[in-house]
Structure formats: C-alpha cells, structure tokens
C-alpha cells in the first residue's frame, strides 16, 4: 500500500478526532456534577485533626445533595489522604487542579501544607479554601482562609487570663512556623496589656519529656503559662505538668489545646481549669449548634469524635463556598470569588461567619471557654471579630493581584512591632 498525501491526512484527522473524543466526553461529564475536592490528612500524625474535618465535609456535601444539590446539579466529593506528608499534598493538589479539574478545593491542615499547595492552585486558577485556624498573614485572591487567626483568639485570651491570673506569662510553643509566629503574637499582646513574657520556649514536635521545662517554669514563677504546643507528643506536657502538681498553682491558657480533641486525651483532673479560645466549641449553647451536633452524631454513628473548630469550620467552609456559588449562579472561579467577596455570610453552628473582602479571611464569633471534666464551659462570646492581624498587612480590594504569605519571615519582617 502506498501512502498518498490524501489518505495520510484522512487517517491523521480521524485519529486526532479519536484522541480528542475522551477529552470532550470528560468535559461533558464534568458539567453534570460539581467537583468538590478535599485534601486532608486521614493517616499519619495529623489524622487527629484531619479525620473529623473529612467527616463534617462529607456531611455538608451529603446534606447539600439531599437538598437537591447546587444550581440543580449534584456535588461530587473527592477526598484525598496526603498521609501527613507534604510531598503528597503537592501531588494531590496538582491532581485535583489539573487532573480532576476541581471546581473548588478545600485542603491543608498545617501552614506548611498550605504553603506547599497554595501556589499550585494560584497557577492552575483553582479556587482554594483553607479552613484551619492559623497564624494569619495569607494575602491571596484565590485563597479563602476561614479559620480563626491570633488577632481573633490570642487577642481575647491574653487579656482575659492575665486579668484573672496575673501578668507574668511563660510561653511554650511548637517549633515550626505556626508555633513561632503565634508565640510572637502572644508576646505582642502580653506587652500590649502591660504584662511580661518571662520566657518563650520552643519544642520540636517529637519531644515527650517536658521535665526540664517544668523545672524552669517552677524556677521562673510565672502567674500563668500560655501554650501553643501542637500534636500528639506534646500532650505529654499537660500530663507531666499536672503530675508535678503545677496545674493547681500556675494555670494554663491555650489557643491550640483542644483543637485535636486533646481535652479527651488527658484526664479530667489534669485538664480542669485550663482556659482556651476558639471560634467554635462543641458545647456552644445555641439551637443551631445543638442541631449540628445531633446531626453529626447521627451521620457518624456512636463513635463520633468530639467536634472542634477545625471540624465545624470545614463544614461551614463548604457552606460558605456554596453560598458564593448560589449568588454567582455558576461554579466558574472568578464569579464565585467576586460573589464571596461581596461579604457573603453563612449562619453555621459557630454563629455567623462572614467573608472579609480585604483579606479573604472571615469575620467570626470568638469564644473563651474553661475546661471542666473533659468538656468546655463557655465563659465569653465576642461576636463578628475581624482578622485584624492580616488586615494590617493585606488589602486585596486595593490590589487584588496578590498571592503571598506576609508572615513568612515572622512579624517583624512584616513591619509589626512586638
């Protein structure tokens, strides 16, 4: 057989059409459902945070689908488990953006994981939600950060506890960017309120023997300890602190204890009296929250884990995005971003959560609560708190073309005086 130019062209165009066909079919299918991708650690050291978040995300999507979906379409939830490994985060982020062509991705627990994947979503123009409390400072049009930041929690917790316990504060924190920057916020708010941070100590995440530090705390004689410790190994601190009888004399305040349900991991007598601050507690006494907790228990069954800010905000984050889609009338990225930035709000279990357009962060209620018998008793509620820390350094209204993390090198580098 001789190949003439005509037969070659005919064959080539036929095979080109065949190659193109799956892509066309793929796109047609994509239009039938809305793609919601979630990338959260369900194994490895961070699973105590990730698993409840996946549970509530699933519950939110199930509820939306049962109510007829969004814009008349069903939402397809795809969940990836990056196994507490940053490398898998970047891999799944690329898969979600380029492979799955996700309409929205809700992902990341640690700040390190967020910083690993945020540029990927900016590059592929995939709408990205980060629903975890963190140190503040992300300024990215494409990224909505719905969790609480230190200006919302630390700023309330520090004056309240200093007023109650005294002005000499000893700070213990986890040794990575979250702990370091949060410790700087604590130092700042302690100084702003006329107190003294007598010592700040950082702990690698695998430290389990806190004996030397407890002796140093006894020698420094502070009025209170402020903890930004993170993860399973650091739970040892609270136990050894109580074993040395210190919890009776020098009380602890924290904006990290409880968010991995640590208050269930230590016994009642070890934890009693600690004061913590988050934008959500399972014990919030409102009909909306009691209903949410009951639905979660029904959804997840008897062995449902305790709910915390991460789990509640993963749920509310999904609904905030849905509100944006409803208002925009489409799942297209830019219309949804614009709709969200009109100051959309959602009334969830934690109360009202409103998108703040200058920072793409959230106005939210902040609660102070005291631990008693492995449960939190709400002491104070501060409604609609703005993310003033990020507002100091970020204005997406004036300059929307930003995709940076302002606190990458600490607060002083960002021009904030401690």
């Amino acid at each position: 057989m001789t190949v003439t130019r005509r037969s070659f062209l005919a064959g080539a165009s036929a095979s080109a059409a065949a190659l193109a066909a799956p892509a066309i079919i793929g796109r047609a299918q994509a239009a039938d459902t809305i793609k919601f991708v979630s990338i959260l650690d369900q194994s490895g050291g961070l699973d105590i945070y990730g698993k409840p978040m996946v549970d509530t995300t699933r519950m939110a999507i199930d509820e939306m689908n049962a109510a007829g979906g969004l814009l008349g379409k069903q939402i397809e939830l795809k969940v990836y488990d990056p196994q507490s490994t940053i490398q898998f985060y970047t891999q799944y982020a690329t898969q979600a953006a380029a492979g799955d062509k996700a309409d929205v991705v809700h992902a990341g627990i640690t700040s390190a994981s967020r910083e690993a994947i945020r540029p990927t979503f900016a590059r592929f123009q995939t709408l990205y939600f980060y629903n975890v409390l963190y140190e503040g400072g992300v300024c990215d049009l494409n990224n909505f950060c719905t969790g609480s930041t230190p200006a919302q929690t630390v700023e309330k917790l520090v004056p309240y506890t200093m007023n109650k316990w005294g002005k000499k504060v000893y700070i213990v924190a986890a040794d990575y960017n979250y702990g370091q920057i949060t410790a700087q916020w604590v130092q700042k708010y302690v100084a702003d309120n006329g107190g003294e941070a007598v010592e700040t100590e950082f702990f690698p995440l695998d430290v389990t023997n806190f004996g030397p530090t407890i002796k140093k705390i006894q020698a420094a004689k502070p009025d209170m300890v402020m903890s930004a410790l993170v993860g399973g190994a650091h739970v040892s601190f609270y136990r050894q602190y109580a074993a040395a009888g210190m919890n009776k004399s020098v009380p602890i305040a924290s904006t990290t204890f409880g968010v991995g349900n640590e208050h269930k991991l230590i016994s009642a007598e070890e934890g009693d009296g600690m004061i913590c601050s988050y934008s959500y507690f399972e014990e919030i006494d409102t009909p909306a929250n009691q209903d949410f907790v009951a639905r979660f228990k029904a959804h997840r069954g008897e062995d449902a884990p305790a709910l915390n800010e991460l789990a509640a905000r993963a749920y509310e984050g999904a609904y905030l995005w849905a509100e944006g889609v409803k208002q925009a009338g489409t799942v297209e990225r830019m219309p949804v971003i614009e709709a969200l930035r009109t100051g959309i709000s959602y009334d969830g279990p934690s109360g009202r959560v409103t998108i703040e357009p200058k920072t793409n962060h959230a106005l939210q209620n902040v609660y102070l609560a005291e631990l008693k018998d492995q449960a939190f008793n709400i002491l104070e509620v501060y409604e609609d708190q703005p993310p003033t820390d990020t507002l100091l350094v970020c204005d997406l209204v004036a300059d929307p073309n930003q995709s940076v993390f302002k606190f990458e090198n600490g607060l002083e580098a960002a021009g904030i005086k401690i």
Binding site: G211, P212, V235, G245, L265, I266
Partner: protein, 289 residues
C-alpha cells in the same frame, strides 16, 4: 540547693525514661541481632492496653504492671513465630518486615479505636516537694521500676538456667545448637520477653504521655540511638548510653532549651559512634552483659 536537687532528679528521670523505652529493643537486638522497627508500636500497644483496660474499669496498677507486658509479650511471640523466624540472619529483610509491621499496627489500632482515644487515667500517686520545687511521685516510681527491671534482667541472665542457655546462644548459636539447645525456642522466648518489657514500658508511660496510634514514631528514634550507642551488651550498653545521652539531653535542655537539648543528644551520639563505631560496649565494658 533545692534547684540542684530538683534538676538532678529530673535528669535522673530523663535517663531512666531513655533506659525504659530502650531496654526491650536492646534485649531483642543484643540477643538476636534483629532490629525491630515495630518497637515504637509495641510501646504504643502497651499504652493502649492500659487505656482500654482502665476505661473498662480494671485497676490501673494491674493494667500497667501485668496486662500491658502480658498482652504485648503474647503479640511478640506471635510476631516472632509468624514473621521474624523466617528472616534470621537477613538484617535488611527484617528491617523491612518490621517496618511493614509497624505500619500494620498503626493502621489496625486506628481502625479499631479511631485517630484518638479518650482516656480517664491520670498518674497515680501524688506530688513530692523539694523545697519550693515539686515533682511527680510517679516519676520517682518510674526511676525505681526501671532500676528494678534492669536488675531483674541481670539476674535472669546470670542466675537462671534459661539465662545461661540464652547467653550461650547469643555467643555462638551453632555451638549451642550442637550441644542440644533449641535455638529456635530461645529466640522465640527472647523476642517475647523483649516485647513484654517494651509493653511494660509503654504501659508505664501511658499516664504521663499522650496515647495515640502514631505515638510510636516519637520513641523509635531515641530508642534506636540509645541501643546503637550502647552497643551489643544488653544491660551495660543500655545503661551507659542512657546515662550519657539522657544526661546530656537533660542538662542541655535545662540550660538552653528543648531544641538544643535534642541537638546535644544527637550530636553526642554521632561523635560517640564516630569514635566507637560498635557502641560504648564495643569499646569499653566489653565482657559485660
């Protein structure tokens, strides 16, 4: 003065803590030259035994001192029979197999109990004061138990018939076998005892640490460094390496901070292994147990 006493006690506790988490690994490594990468998970299983038993209403002392070593010891024997005995003399294969085993244990415990398990136990015993400093009486007890455990292992190896046979197998397995010793049985018992000691350690630490499926990974590195730094002799190696590394870590952590404390520990181990590649007991105390 009070501060010196309080910090001294704290450093002693740090040393005992290191010895406690390493002893089980040292028994298995010293006797069988098997590196058990699932060691951290044996500790974790000991902790879970205590938490589950205490939540079910079992007396905490019974749970810690009897149930934890028993349960993990039995698991150890099963693991040895099903997995380890096929791999004797194949160091790399054992490493891989026990690593897989550690992942399996983490997965199993996570799927049974979830990512975290609520606990009701807190350290028994009260608080002791040294001047204006306070320490946990439980820490003092742990130091005592660690010392007692070391003495018990010493006596078992030195005084009993089984200990004699075990030491013989350790020195020359083929010769022991030729003399009619069932080395396979000795290995099984050794692995079981090593696992039981590890389970006891995990159980004893349960009231002062967090008990999570992934907590083993926190211990494994330190246990390893201690055992490798100590060298082949089970007791002298573990004891000398614990004193050195635990002491350096405790002093550095108190003087500077926990980050430098960890760095000092690792640096000491590196320098030590550079000078004595076979560990402390490869260089000095060579004839010891």
């Amino acid at each position: 003065m009070d501060l010196v006493a309080a910090v001294g006690l704290q450093i002693l506790y740090g040393i005992a803590n290191l010895a406690l988490i390493s002893l089980g690994l040292a028994i298995i490594f010293g006797m069988m030259r098997v590196i058990n990468l699932a060691h951290g998970e044996f500790l974790m299983l000991g902790g879970y035994t205590v938490v589950v038993a205490a939540n079910a209403g079992v007396n905490i002392w019974i749970a810690m001192l009897i149930l934890a070593p028993l349960v993990v010891g039995v698991i150890g024997v099963v693991v040895e029979r099903l997995l380890i005995r096929w791999l004797y003399g194949r160091m790399i294969d054992t490493l891989l197999a026990t690593w897989g085993l550690s992942l399996l244990f983490i997965g199993l415990v996570t799927s049974i109990f979830g990512a975290s398990t609520a606990t009701t136990i807190s350290p028994p015993l009260g608080v002791i004061s040294i001047g204006e400093y306070t320490s946990s009486a439980y820490e003092l007890l742990l130091i005592g138990i660690t010392a007692a455990l070391g003495i018990a292992v010493f006596l078992a190896l030195k005084m009993t018939n089984l200990g004699l046979v075990a030491r013989g197998t350790m020195q020359n397995a083929e010769m022991a076998s030729a003399l009619g010793v069932s080395t396979s049985r000795i290995y099984m018992i050794t692995f079981g005892v090593g696992a039981a000691v590890t389970g006891l350690a995990g159980g004893l630490l349960a009231p002062v640490t967090g008990v999570l499926p992934t907590i083993g990974s926190v211990y494994i590195a330190k246990a390893f460094i201690t055992v490798i730094s100590g060298g082949a002799a089970i007791l002298a190696g573990t004891a000398s390496a614990s004193v050195l590394l635990g002491g350096v870590n405790g002093i550095a952590a108190f003087l500077t901070g926990p980050t430098i404390g960890e760095v000092a520990l690792l640096l000491t181990a590196i320098v030590l292994l550079r000078l004595m590649p076979r560990g402390i007991t490869g260089g000095i105390f060579r004839k010891s147990l």
